[in-house]
Symmetry: C2
DNA sequence: ATGAAAGCGCTAACAC
DNA sequence: GTGTTAGCGCTTTCAT
């Protein structure tokens, strides 16, 4: 086992400065008034010995580590990492350290990680849940450990949360498409038994249609896990079927940007032009939107802001501040790029466009 | 200030089991042999009280927190988050916790963060450096704190590192293009006064040419920060100039995938077809490669493996294991997608293709 | 094999 | 104002 070099302790500083350790503590933590000259002596000793208080020891006394845990399904997904960036900035500003744990969408792992963090370190916990299972969160909430849930609607409003109005946001997307004159609007999503976010976006699609007096057409509301897996082949088959049935809508909304881009690819392969023949809008405003061809018009979630808001909320709770609103809902908006246009004049003609290229 | 509920301590367990605290400690840590029956009593008490040893207190004694710090320029960049994922898995397997710090490419911040981590918590440090400045790393290396540097070539081979052979990898890319018959191979990169990685890739481009007996042509080796900023406009202007000078090569290699995709966009806007008129190969194999049109052929870095290797190396050092090789170089390979083809037959004709579309 | 006790470095209550 | 001292919960001698 490797050994750390011994670092100067508060005792060493006290000896060097010729004062007591509590005086040193008072100076270092600015917690009591200490006379000018002794203060200076302490500071000089601190500098000379390069003294840094040992956080571990301090934590043992104060029962606070100034550390918060973040549990996230997958750090490598741009959406999450952007949100985390927002958290990071706030944490630093407020002088907290951040511990990250990935669960890779495994609920058991979620609970295990949570316990590791809670049992040992953290002052508070920030939680991205993979799925709609909150029993473990309730458990630690009841243990009186500060928790904030992000991007998921928890049934219990006692549990602090930060999210967007997924339903409203998707409604927004449908509205946007309608404003271009679209009346045949499809939707692609993966299945959603246990993810409220995904479910609510679908609900938003439906209510958006209703709001615009468009009947819901199940043929073009596609719920398929080929979308989740971002399987081009699968997406292509879906498009092909729609084409053959002559059911191709003039526009699509999608559960996420990656799905939308997969859809565009399939559409292009099938001989449709985007947006001239079919418009597409994504969801999330991830970086890939810029790289797609055409660039993807999408619904933006304020990712950094979400992270920042969640962290501020959590730290306010940790520090015992009064919080007025513990269930924050953040606004979304449409980012216009190049994947939406008015529907083509002659829809008949559209549906006869060739299925030219092989996939 | 919010207060944690008091958790059972080793004393509570000892009392409950009717043994001494050192017996409890021995049982919990399996560090000494304890008689069957007393062992059972302890275990029962542990379960009954739901006792978890307090890591902070333990750390105070043992001077080890089983925590390692990771310093990274930007967690939201896919390259980094993928590598981190590899680290994460190994850390978990070896029962360490991971603390992440972002520096946003700020060298001062790099040093500050490092100090925060070192002074207070960690058993070891994993370092992605933004730039070629290693003075701070040497400093903590000399303090005998385990450090591993990732993805950067440190001049001092004493400092453990994990990286790829950037020079060789870019040479590989040039070779690959040559195997298709290309002889006019351009390169796009941003400037590289202080990033060895970037510099070495350029060196690889040059040596790749030399190896294939192709003279270096400065007109098509483009070093411009429009590339770094991923400014489409700037990239487009570069392409335009090349076009007007009739100097368009038949292929390009790029410092990174994003740059390559920007290049493709500019090329397409300028009326060139990729890969029929111009081939492009990227670097990194990021997810965007799949989303670009055409999908981007690129040089793959083994990202997860890098993370895993670095973490294993670090923990071996932390735990005082013998390590045979403290400077690990990982292999790269070409991922073939759709952005490379043989050069067009008639280069003259190519250079006369119209500059049709406005940007 | 077990337990008593020292002490890791710090904060905070209390005495001066 | 300043110093003394009692722990925080744990590991680790050192007796027994």
């Amino acid at each position: 086992m490797w050994k750390k070099l011994k670092r100067p302790s508060i005792r060493d500083v006290a000896r060097e400065a010729g004062v007591s350790i509590s005086t040193v503590s008072s100076v270092v933590n600015k917690t009591k008034f200490v006379k000018e000259d002794r203060q200076k002596r302490v500071l000089k000793a601190v500098k000379k010995l390069n003294y840094k208080p040992n956080i571990i020891a301090r934590g043992l006394r104060t029962r606070s580590t100034r550390t918060v845990g973040v549990i996230v399904p997958d750090i490598a997904q741009p959406f999450f990492s952007q949100v985390i960036r927002g958290m990071e900035e706030v944490a630093r500003k407020r002088r907290y350290t951040l511990i990250l744990s990935c669960t890779f969408y495994d609920v058991a792992e979620e609970e295990r990680q949570m316990n590791v963090l809670v049992d040992q370190f953290i002052d508070g916990l920030l939680f991205f849940c993979g799925y709609d299972n909150y029993s473990h969160i309730k458990k630690i909430y009841n243990q009186n450990i500060p928790v904030v849930v992000i991007d998921r609607e928890v049934s219990d409003p006692k549990i602090p949360s930060v999210l967007i109005d997924n339903t409203g946001a998707m409604e927004q997307a449908v509205d946007y498409l309608c404003s271009y004159g679209h009346r045949e609007i499809g939707y692609v999503t993966f299945t959603f038994e246990n993810q409220a976010t995904v479910r609510n976006r679908y609900a938003g699609y439906c209510s958006g249609l209703k709001k615009n007096n468009i009947p819901h057409n199940p043929d073009i509301a596609i719920i398929d896990d080929a979308i989740r897996l971002n399987e081009l082949r699968g997406t292509y088959n879906i498009i092909k079927e729609l084409h053959e049935k002559r059911k191709m809508p003039t526009a699509f909304t999608a559960i996420a940007d990656a799905s939308a881009i997969g859809l565009i690819k399939a559409l292009k392969e099938a001989g449709y032009r985007v947006p001239q023949d079919v418009s597409v809008v994504g969801f999330n405003n991830e970086i890939v939107c810029e790289f797609s061809d055409p660039p993807l018009t999408t619904v933006k979630q304020p990712k950094k802001l979400m992270g920042a808001a969640a962290m501020n909320l959590l730290l306010d709770i940790v520090e015992g501040k009064k919080v007025k609103n513990k269930n924050i809902v953040l606004p979304t908006n449409i980012i216009e790029r190049g994947s939406v246009a008015a529907p083509p004049k002659n829809t008949k003609q559209l549906s006869q466009r060739g299925f030219g290229n092989e996939f």
